[in-house]
Subunit: 202 residues, 2 copies
């Protein structure tokens, strides 16, 4: 069985791929709007992890719409949820394979992105795919212990840490439109992000 994992190069999507590798043929998929140098970065981390990798360029209208949402809301939750859903749909519609298995690194204690069960079932039924979130049954403490044992990571504030996730490109797009000072007001003052450096205890 093949599992296609939405991959940001951070600890969650990387741990997700490690948890699945004994049971699935893993392909990591990084979605990007082409605004930052995320393609090469994600490719490098996928290579370090030892998995095949693909970059999918998302329609820029998704980013434009996400910027509208965050500006209207004044906080990023709904905008990031929106991008995540649209990214899933774009990947699924580009693949058009029945029983396509798509996975992500969402976890139990995440505030965003977040899916309701009804949305997941609707997605699966509509597109005849399977969607899994292997970390959704794990709490922060257990995940931290697994990450500590199996991954070497660097962590920093999401404002500084450039990685291959939606927030980095959302920030970049807003920086261009509004400037850094106004953009900063739309995000929590502190939010740590991670990037994988290497595997441990393979």
């Amino acid at each position: 069985m093949k599992a296609n994992i939405l991959f940001s190069g951070g600890k969650d999507s990387s741990l997700c791929s490690l948890l699945l590798e004994s049971f699935f043929d893993i392909k990591l998929i990084t979605c990007t709007f082409g605004l930052l140098e995320t393609s090469q970065m994600s490719r490098n981390i996928a290579e370090i992890l030892g998995f095949s990798h693909e970059v999918i360029e998302l329609n820029k209208n998704i980013l434009i719409q996400a910027c509208k949402i965050i500006i209207q809301d004044g906080f990023p939750n709904n905008a990031i949820n929106y991008i995540h859903r649209q990214a899933l749909l774009e990947v699924i519609s580009k693949k058009k394979k029945k029983n396509y298995l798509i996975a992500d690194g969402l976890r139990r204690d995440d505030k965003v992105p977040k899916f309701e069960l009804s949305e997941i079932k609707s997605l699966e039924n509509k597109y005849c795919i399977n969607y899994i979130s292997p970390l959704i049954g794990y709490g922060r403490s257990t995940i931290d212990q697994l990450v500590e044992k199996y991954l070497e990571i660097e962590e920093n504030e999401s404002k500084i840490m450039k990685k291959c996730d939606y927030e980095s490109e959302l920030r970049e797009s807003l920086n261009i439109d509004l400037g850094e000072k106004e953009t900063d007001k739309l995000f929590p003052s502190s939010h740590m992000q991670s990037r994988v450096i290497s595997r441990k205890n393979i």
Copy 2:
């Protein structure tokens, strides 16, 4: 890290143990009220899977209370939810170990048992333990494919299939009190259960 998995000998808790075995030192725990011959059966299946195993006898008052609930409700959901919560609490209180990791085989599409996130967090904080449900991010179709690949199972109606789960002993207790005909009315007319026979593709 040690993972203590609530184990019924069915496909879900067995698959849960397979998903975790590369990352944790597995111990399977079967909870019983001592009403059926579940100890030996669960021990045999644990041995087939290749994991260490312990039987914990639950306080019979839990079963008495569950019988009251199902009779009052006329359907088994709340009674089974109640037993699952009490079983978790009994195991945790008997172990009294900080950072004790307890896991179960609950999955995304299960109707019961089911936990709210707030309940899980309350349990973790109150007892300083970690609770995980590795299958909760998986849908039925993906689980069926994994079971097909890695486990040989037998399936039958829950009324017939004796296994080491709460429903078997709940039914047995009600059979004794109410007779089989009245007991049958309290459960769905058709509900398949599984029991593991062997591992495949190790």
